[in-house]
């Protein structure tokens, strides 16, 4: 950093970092994820003590299948939260999109992939409409999507017709949530993921070294690499000892990684953060703010539809309850619990996965303990409130101590 080298008189501008600074950077980069991982460990210990089946391979596989829908919907929600907005329609959109897919597949005999594409198109179109209304007429997104929530729930009932339920028979659709890979394929996945992650880290580091921008050695990268490798190997080993790596998990991971790439590495993602941080600044910088907003709501609608398809696949059916109940709130709560700010401009797509894991673990553990839904709802509500409090306190601290 030549700019900081020029300021050698300033103590902060020193090029080489002390080990403690390196450690702080390492932690700061993923501070909220560290917090969540610790939370997960605590949850696991609590439930494991009460119910030894909690950490069994079978239950962990079930857990992964249970969180697929929430995780996928949360991926879209993360984008909306990054804008500092909210999309209350995602639950209803996931139900409606799945119903459209089911009707096209079952009643009209459409090809499975075409029916799924139609479902995603429904989600994207709804997102486009809601995003346009919100950005063009400056109606709060809360209101637009609340109207959407009611309207699309009505549309779901309409599409399902008198029977109120449709059983999905096409194996291509039901296979999405009910396919498990053999042990060999699972290990190939693990090798590919670890290899790709290592290559990305190494290439990125080399590029910075060549450009003379590297600060600190590769230690923090090696730590991250070892940590992720251990995680992947452990996860595949556990999944393989039950039914194998589920396709649904790979779909969720694929979307999380892909959408994280878009959010953090592309110009569009950068513009989402900018609009969420300071929309006026983004506008003056020449960013077409309304386009970004509409695109984000289209992402949110599309991810809701994909989540709905996965839910239908897992249930082998679409019914009047699809996308209902607490799905919406849990999909929003997940990323917030895992550290995506409700106030916009801060967060990552990983929080969709981490948050779904937290919420899924709590829900799964309480199911194992056969707690009543009264207790379950109250506990989940408490966890959500706690997460929002942590977010708000972190924001206050930034505001009071942030500006040096």
């Amino acid at each position: 950093m030549s700019a900081t080298e020029a300021t050698a008189d300033e103590p902060k501008g020193k090029k080489s970092l002390t080990p403690s600074q390196t450690l702080r950077r390492l932690v700061q980069g993923d501070l909220s994820s560290v917090r969540v991982v610790l939370g997960l460990v605590v949850i696991a210990i609590i439930f494991q003590v009460q119910e030894p089946r909690f950490l069994s391979a079978q239950n962990l596989t079930n857990l992964m299948l249970q969180i697929t829908t929430i995780g996928l919907i949360s991926v879209g929600i993360v984008y909306v939260l990054l804008l500092g907005e909210i999309d209350l329609s995602v639950g209803a959109v996931s139900g409606l999109s799945a119903a459209v897919m089911a009707v096209l597949s079952v009643n009209h005999g459409w090809n499975a992939y075409l029916a799924i594409a139609a479902a995603v198109a429904v989600g994207a179109t709804i997102g486009f409409a809601q995003g346009s209304l919100f950005s063009r007429f400056v109606i709060p997104s809360f209101v637009v999507t609340l109207a959407g929530l009611l309207a699309w729930e009505g549309a779901l009932l309409q599409v399902l017709g008198k029977t109120g339920s449709l059983n999905i028979t096409d194996p291509k659709i039901t296979g999405l949530a009910n396919t498990f890979y053999s042990d060999t394929v699972g290990w190939i996945f693990a090798a590919v993921i670890i290899g790709a992650y290592g290559a990305v880290l190494a290439l990125g580091y080399r590029k910075r070294v060549v450009a003379g921008l590297a600060d600190g050695g590769p230690l923090s990268l090696i730590v991250r690499f070892v940590f992720l490798s251990a995680l992947v190997i452990g996860a595949v080993a556990i999944l393989n000892s039950d039914r194998g790596v589920p396709l649904a998990v790979m779909i969720l991971l694929g979307f999380v990684v892909g959408m994280e790439y878009v959010a953090k590495r592309t110009g569009f993602g950068r513009h989402v953060f900018a609009v969420g941080g300071n929309a006026e600044a983004a506008r003056r910088a020449g960013i077409r703010v309304n386009r970004v907003r509409v695109a984000v709501f289209m992402i949110s609608g599309s991810m809701a539809a994909i989540g709905g398809v996965m839910a239908a696949s897992r249930l082998f059916a679409v019914n009047q309850n699809s996308g209902g109940n607490e799905l919406l709130l849990l999909a929003i709560a997940g990323p917030v619990i895992a550290g995506t700010s409700l106030f916009g401009g801060r967060g990552s797509v990983w929080t969709a996965l981490l948050g779904a894991l937290v919420i899924g673990s709590i829900s799964n553990g309480m199911d194992l303990l056969s707690l009543s839904s009264a207790v379950k709802l109250m506990v989940t509500g408490g966890v959500l409130l706690l997460a929002v409090l942590v977010d708000a306190i972190a924001r206050q601290q930034r505001q009071t101590s942030g500006r040096v």
């Binding site: 902060k12 450009a211 110009g267 950068r270 910088a285 020449g286 500006r403």
Partner: protein, 263 residues
């Protein structure tokens, strides 16, 4: 363009908002390597004039010439394309993004690849260019990867000014660059403005703070009630005279001066 000819020249510019004549046949000019202080009371038309140059408001009447050519500026992109950059009072920085990302906001460098949307940001290149630009300007920021929200007011202002230079502008408009800054931070920003002048840019500084204006400006241009109320070389005028021109009491003062002295 002959040497010494104005880089940007406004002639007889008028702007009316309903019944309010915000600008009334104003002539204004700034040359390369010159800092012009634009002063005036609240509502004198300073912001309207800057917005007209920046393309936020279009003028009703008059002519704008840039490098001797008559131009029409009807939207911000026109001004940017000509090489006119504006740094607004409220800075327009994203607190949640780091220095590099704020500098390149809206003009991110992309790595080679297919499709605008899927191409990766070239963070390394952006960080490199940011470091070069800031060290050229002798701007000191602890870390280029620190969030702008954590910087001091002076550092933020310097980042905002540095950002305006990325598009290689010829004229930079600064709206109240030293408002709400402490003494050392004000010094930093004024030093930065001097370096803009050394780079042969035409600089227009709007300010309420006459001390700062006198410290930095080569020429002081006074607006009062939408009209030109004076265009002075900074070293040939006193602060009292500028205040007189701003408040409109200057002419009367001159007439009344003997009487006052007599008292």
């Amino acid at each position: 363009m002959s040497p010494g000819a104005p880089l940007l020249e406004l002639e007889g510019v008028s702007k009316r908002f309903g019944p309010v004549q915000a600008l009334d046949r104003v002539d204004f000019a700034v040359s390369a390597g010159e800092v012009v202080g634009l002063v005036g009371d609240n509502g004198a038309g300073k912001s309207t004039l800057v917005k007209a140059i920046a393309g936020i408001n279009t003028i009703d009447d008059g002519a704008i010439r840039f490098e001797g050519q008559e131009v029409s500026i009807s939207k911000p992109q026109d001004a940017t394309a000509l090489g006119i950059a504006t740094v607004y009072q409220d800075l327009a920085l994203c607190d949640n993004l780091d220095v590099v990302n704020n500098l390149f906001l809206g003009r991110e460098e992309l790595a080679p690849g297919v499709g605008r949307a899927s191409r990766q940001l070239d963070e390394v290149k952006m960080e490199h260019e940011t470091a070069d630009l800031l060290s050229n300007l002798a701007v000191t920021i602890p870390s280029l990867r620190s969030e702008v929200g954590t910087l001091s007011g002076g550092q933020r202002q310097q980042v905002a000014v540095a950002r305006s230079l990325l598009g290689e502008p010829k004229v930079v408009l600064l709206d109240e660059p030293t408002a709400a800054l402490g003494v050392p931070q004000t010094k930093q920003v004024l030093a930065l403005i001097r370096r803009l002048r050394e780079r042969d840019l035409g600089v227009v500084v709007i300010s309420h703070n006459l001390v700062d204006v006198f410290e930095i400006a080569d020429r002081i241009f006074v607006l009062r009630l939408g009209r030109s109320a004076g265009n002075f070389a900074a070293n040939e005028i006193t602060e009292e005279q500028v205040v007189g021109a701003i408040t409109g009491l200057g002419d009367r003062d001159k007439q009344e001066q003997p009487a006052e002295e007599g008292k």
